[in-house]
Amino acid sequence: MKTLSYIVLLLFFIGCAKEVKPWEKETLAKSTMEDAGGNALSKQYEEHIYFSKEASKGGGGVAGGGCGCN
């Protein structure tokens, strides 16, 4: 029973641990995968509304890049 529990637990890990390799990121590298689908004007418009509602400027992003290579 204990072994069976481990196997079931391992099966859960399999679902979570699928790693996207660096050479498999072609689709993720597309501009359409960015916020607002790569539409710069739409992004600017949404940021304008966000900052107006928040009554502040900045804080809409995160520091650092996303490639994890540097």
């Binding site: 072994t3 481990y6 391992l10 890990f13 641990a17 790693e19 390799k21 660096p22 050479w23 498999e24 990121k25 072609e26 590298a29 597309k30 490639c67 994890g68 290579c69 540097n70």
Partner: protein
């Protein structure tokens, strides 16, 4: 059971070439790494922004290298051959691709090297990995010359 779990969790990183590792005979034959030269292997793809900047710089470094001692080999990991062909043609038209390129649409070559990022440069001497540079380097041409000088 613990061993199985650890092997599973760490497995993806266990099968990556690191400094000091010997390249498999099948890969040596496939890429033509059997000579006495230092081989500089660059993994790139058309969709990789950093690679687009780096390949022309590597080509620039290649102009002044002694080709009896060093060979640069590009590995294009584009899955669509038409994308690889278009990217390489565009680079050639600009004079930014002057080294041998091996297309890897099945990603078998890069899966064996298993780098942690793109672009990645491997220095291979006597079928052994001597150095690995992962990620974009601004002056990669100068870096290649500097590294090769140290390897002589």
């Amino acid at each position: 059971m613990k061993n199985i779990i650890w092997t599973f969790l760490l497995g993806s990183q266990l099968f990556a070439y690191d400094v000091g590792d010997t390249i498999s005979p099948a890969m040596v034959e496939h890429l033509g790494l059997g000579g006495e030269k230092v081989y500089v292997i660059d993994f790139f793809a058309s969709w990789c922004g950093s690679c687009q900047k780096e390949v022309p710089l590597i080509a620039k470094a290649n102009v002044t290298l002694n080709h009896n001692e060093v060979e640069i080999i590009g590995i294009d990991v584009d899955k669509k051959p038409e994308n690889a062909e278009a990217f390489q043609k565009a680079l050639q038209a600009e004079g930014a691709l002057n080294f041998r390129v091996v297309n890897d649409p099945q990603n078998l070559v890069i899966a064996e090297f298993n780098p942690v990022g793109m672009p990645t440069l491997y220095y291979v001497k006597a079928q052994k990995v001597v150095k690995i540079i992962t990620g974009a380097v601004d002056a990669i041409d100068a870096q290649i010359h500097s590294d090769l000088k140290k390897m002589r």
